[in-house]
Every structure is written in structure tokens, then in C-alpha cells.
């Protein structure tokens, strides 16, 4: 067998990844994926800042799961500090999470159409996405990185006009989504291109622990919003969507991932609709006084592990706070792509070379979330200076906190 080893540059996959494929003719025998094109150093950076500064940083880990990341962080800090979020803020957070999911799923659809070569469909999807971005801009002032999250609530409040605008948006999508769905799901364009590409069977998906839409498209019944409800998701019925409900069966290929995301778009609209009916009144911030909040955070101590079902799947953060300063002792981020990436070589094996970009993209990768690491010190294996745990400048030894 004549095997050709071919490095694919980022232009081949539309993501800053270096993929080396071994080819037998047009078939991929083996694939090796190398990260490291982005050195972001977010975790390291955050240790030198105070919590109020880290929250906007968490927002900027990624442009499209911005709220999920920020909210995970805010919830972790709230859990440690014992801040109870008022009910209206819980509803607003849920609302913005769903708006973010709509925006992210539309962007994914557009990218999928682009990689499949259907620029006209891409523009159609993007023009639909404009509406939710306009909505976000109208509600929060920004199209992405909306800055909704705050410790103990949200920074944004809604009035009646906003709720009316949201209802109009839902009506708009109810009108515009069905023709798009017909073209994408029943039309030949993407079906011929995506069906049977990048198949991830259910058993393999379970073993690799994939999360989010990738897992659901493979037939797993998993959704954090359903299995461990947070914020306002506990108040109404959220079932994980399954492709087999619409298509009869699920094969776990790229086409199923697309169908699932369209189904989730509609689910998000349903959630927003139910949510708007039952939105409670009251405050959106648990602690209004700045100084009291700072005091609460200064006294907080402990560890928290919090996860949120972002548009790409489970976004997980482990936060450790020490008493005495408004700063992190340690922060670990695990985005959905970090988990899903381990299945990429498997998905690529046996596929055609021209499908590489399509397969990698079908899992909705976010390299920015994954490569948040930048070890500044040399770390040879045997002898290593201990990393500084706390951000203390005075060299105070960090206490170990009981887990």
C-alpha cells in the first residue's frame, strides 16, 4: 500500500489546526491533529487579575459561547460565595443562553453550507442570523460578547417593549425557518454532500464521552439542561432533541448533526416562548451595592465545579477561591471541543481527503476555547519548580482547601 503523508494547513480545515493525514489514494488511513497555533494563556492571565476583571475575560474566551463561559464562571463564584440569584435574573440568563444558542447554531449552519460549497445557502442562513444578532444588539448593546453575566444576576433588564420585540423575533423565525429547513433537510444539496460523512456510532460516542449536539446526533439522550437543570431550565420541560424523531433513525453522520442543530433552533424558540410567558418580576441583581459584593467575594473560600450546556456542549469550569482577596487561586476551563476533539482522528479515518474540513467542522470546533493554555515556565519532566498557586504577590503560601 502506497501511503502518502500530507500535512494540511489551516486553510484546508478553516480552523487553526495542523492536521497530518496519511493517504491511501484518496482515503485517509490515519490522521494526526496538532494543536498549538493559538497561544492564549487565559488561565494564567486570570490568576493575576481580580474576579471583576476575570468575568469579562471569561466572556472573551470565545465569541460564540461567550455567555456560556461567563455564566459558568459567574455561577462557580456564586456557588462558592453563597450568592442566591433572584428569579428574574435566572430567567434572563436562560433567555440569553438560548439566544446565544440560536446565534451559534445559525453560524454553524452557515459554515457548513460554506464548506459544502453552497455560498447562496450560506448567505441565506447568515441573513436569517442577522435577526437574532439585531435582537441581542437591541437588548444588550452588542452583537456578540454581550456582557449579560454579572455576579449575582444579570447586567441587563428587559422592559415590555423588549419582550414584544422578542415575540416578534419568534414570529419571524416561525415564518422563515420552515422553508430553510425544507431546503437543508429535504433538499438534495446538503443531503448528497453530508450523508454518510464522518459517522460516529452511538457506542463509540459513549466511549469517547462526546458532549453536546455531537452526542445527541449520535443518538445519545444527553443534555445538561434536562439531566441536571440549572438557572430556569428546571421550571419547564426541556427534552434532549433526537434526530430519530424527525428522520426516523439516526446514523450519527454530519447530516444528522445538521438536522439536530436545526431541531435545536426550533427548540430554543419554544423555550424562549415559554420563558417569556412566565418571567417573574423583581430585581436582576442579588447584591446591588458594589462594596458589599466585593466584601462577599473577598470572604468566599472553596472550590466549585460548574458546567453549563453551551451551544457546543458542556462547558465546564473548576474554580478555587481563597479567603482574603478578590482573586482566583486556580481556574481550569474545559470547553466542549476539548472533549470532542479526541474523536476527530477516529472520524477522519476511512474518509475522503476532501471531507476533512467538513468532518472537523461538523463537530462545531472552537479552537479558541480549547487552546486557552500557555505554560510560561519550562516544564521538564523530572525536576520542576512548583507553580505558584495563588495570585498573592507577597508570597503567601496557599492553603489547601478541603474538596
Amino acid at each position: 500500500m502506497d501511503v502518502l503523508t500530507l500535512p494540511l494547513n489551516p486553510s484546508g480545515s478553516l480552523e487553526p489546526l495542523a492536521i497530518t493525514v496519511s493517504l491511501d489514494g484518496d482515503r485517509i488511513v490515519d490522521a494526526r491533529i496538532r494543536h498549538g497555533a493559538l497561544h492564549r494563556g487565559i488561565e494564567e492571565m486570570a490568576l493575576h487579575w481580580n474576579l471583576f476583571q476575570v468575568l469579562p475575560l471569561a466572556e472573551r474566551i470565545c465569541g460564540f459561547c461567550s455567555l456560556s463561559n461567563a455564566l459558568t464562571f459567574a455561577r462557580a463564584v456564586e456557588t462558592i460565595a453563597g450568592i442566591v440569584v433572584p428569579p428574574r435574573a435566572r430567567y434572563l440568563r436562560t433567555l440569553f443562553l438560548e439566544l446565544e444558542r440560536i446565534s451559534s447554531h445559525f453560524l454553524w449552519l452557515a459554515t457548513a453550507c460554506h464548506i459544502a460549497g453552497h455560498e447562496a445557502l450560506m448567505m441565506a442562513v447568515l441573513s436569517l442570523r442577522e435577526r437574532v444578532l439585531d435582537m441581542l444588539e437591541g437588548l444588550t448593546g452588542k452583537r456578540s460578547n454581550c456582557g449579560v453575566a454579572a455576579f449575582g444576576g444579570t447586567r441587563v433588564n428587559l422592559d415590555d417593549a423588549d419582550i414584544k420585540a422578542l415575540e416578534e423575533m419568534i414570529a419571524f423565525y416561525r415564518r422563515e425557518l420552515p422553508p430553510l429547513q425544507e431546503v437543508l433537510v429535504e433538499g438534495p444539496l446538503l443531503r448528497f454532500r453530508l450523508q454518510g460523512v464522518g459517522v460516529l456510532p452511538k457506542e463509540v460516542a459513549v466511549r469517547h464521552g462526546v458532549v453536546g449536539p455531537v452526542a445527541r446526533a449520535s443518538g445519545l439522550y444527553v443534555d445538561l439542561r434536562w439531566s441536571s437543570p440549572y438557572e430556569a431550565y428546571g421550571d419547564f420541560d426541556v427534552q434532549p432533541r433526537q434526530v430519530s424523531d424527525l428522520m426516523g433513525r439516526s446514523r450519527g453522520d454530519a447530516f444528522d448533526r445538521m438536522v439536530l442543530r436545526i431541531m435545536e433552533l426550533r427548540q430554543s424558540l419554544e423555550i424562549i416562548e415559554t420563558l417569556l410567558q412566565g418571567i417573574p418580576g423583581g430585581n436582576v441583581l442579588a447584591v446591588k451595592k458594589d462594596r458589599r459584593l466585593a466584601a462577599l467575594l473577598r470572604d468566599a473560600e472553596g472550590r466549585a465545579l460548574v458546567s453549563v450546556e453551551g451551544p457546543r456542549g458542556e462547558s465546564l469550569q473548576r474554580v478555587t477561591l481563597c479567603r482574603g482577596k478578590i482573586a482566583l487561586s486556580s481556574w481550569t476551563l474545559r470547553s466542549a471541543t476539548y472533549v470532542n476533539a479526541s474523536s476527530w482522528p477516529l472520524l477522519l479515518r476511512g474518509e475522503e481527503l476532501s471531507d476533512v474540513a467538513l468532518i472537523i467542522n461538523s463537530t462545531d470546533p472552537c479552537i479558541a476555547c480549547t487552546e486557552r493554555l500557555f505554560p510560561l515556565r519550562p516544564s521538564p519532566v523530572p525536576e520542576m519548580a512548583p507553580l505558584r498557586l495563588s495570585s498573592a504577590e507577597d508570597g503567601e503560601a496557599a492553603k489547601e482547601v478541603a474538596p
Binding site: V222, S227, L305, P375, P403
Partner: protein, 169 residues
């Protein structure tokens, strides 16, 4: 050991899981605790000796296939604390999901951990990252090359702090 990859539909009671683990591991399981709150899903935390980690995971697998969520490490100076996060009963029903956080304390000087890649392929990234950041070593990890930091020739790229203020602006 490779488990049958399937999620169970019927969740075991969370307290039952805890008591089963306590019975199995006895004094090795330090500070086992089951927190059930409203803000978060129930979480079971415990500290383990490293020798019994694999046994712990296999014990979890008797209830359900554990979903490997994350592996993270904290350097405490005199020791390294590793957190293995799993989830059980992921698709067993609303509110049934149980998070399990097993912490392993590695005293300084001991850098070798058993690898979980044989059981959970997605553990690879977490383990490779810890090789890079904390300088650990994992027994049984097939690919120990750095994950995020290396140059074109496959050498580890080490950024000295002076790289940062080398006239970026």
C-alpha cells in the same frame, strides 16, 4: 478493561452509590461527601490514593458507564492535587445525573500516574496537557507528545517571559 459502552436508563439512588463506594474502599476513601443542592446537580466528592484510582473507576462502571468530563491539576507546592471528574446516569432522567469528583494527592517527587486512556479515550488531552504543565508522567499513555506547545520540528517550545515583552505593540 473496556466496559460495555452504554448508558443505563435506570439510575441507582445516589446515597446507595456513596455507601457502596464507602464499603468497597473503607478508609482509603477520604472525606466522601454527597452534596445535593438546588443550584447544582448532586456532586459526590472524595479523595483517593493513586493506587486505587483504576479500581475506583471500575467500581463506578458497575453502576453506569462513567462519562469522563475533565482532568485538572493544581500545584499546591508540597503536592499536586489532581481532580478526576466523572458523571454517572447522564441519560437516566431529569435530576438523576450524579457528578463524581475524585481527587488524587500526589506528593512532590512522585510524578507517575496511571493513565485512563484505555478506558476513556477522551482522557488523552487532559493527560497530555498535564505532562506539559505540571510535568507529570502517565503510565500507559501511548502518545506523550506535548499537546499545545511545540515547534515545527517537534521540539517543545518553551516561551521565556521575555518573549512576551519583545515589542509586541
Amino acid at each position: 478493561m473496556i466496559y460495555a459502552p452504554e448508558y443505563v436508563i435506570q439510575a441507582t439512588d445516589h446515597r446507595e452509590v456513596l455507601s457502596c463506594l464507602e464499603g468497597r474502599f473503607g478508609a482509603d476513601l477520604e472525606m466522601p461527601q454527597l452534596k445535593e443542592g438546588e443550584a447544582q446537580s448532586p456532586i459526590l466528592t472524595a479523595t483517593l490514593p493513586k493506587a486505587r484510582l483504576l479500581e475506583f473507576v471500575d467500581c463506578l462502571a458497575e453502576f453506569d458507564f462513567p462519562h469522563f468530563r475533565a482532568l485538572s491539576g493544581e500545584d499546591l507546592g508540597e503536592a499536586i492535587l489532581l481532580h478526576y471528574d466523572f458523571a454517572l446516569f447522564r441519560s437516566a432522567g431529569r435530576g438523576k445525573r450524579l457528578e463524581i469528583s475524585a481527587s488524587v494527592r500526589l506528593p512532590s517527587g512522585d510524578r507517575l500516574m496511571p493513565s485512563l486512556v484505555g478506558r476513556f479515550p477522551s482522557a488523552e488531552y487532559g493527560e497530555r496537557e498535564l505532562i506539559e504543565t505540571l510535568g507529570l508522567d502517565f503510565e500507559g499513555l501511548p502518545d506523550k507528545s506535548p499537546l499545545f506547545t511545540f515547534d515545527d520540528r517537534g521540539r517543545r517550545r518553551v516561551a521565556a517571559p521575555c518573549d512576551l515583552d519583545g515589542g509586541v505593540h
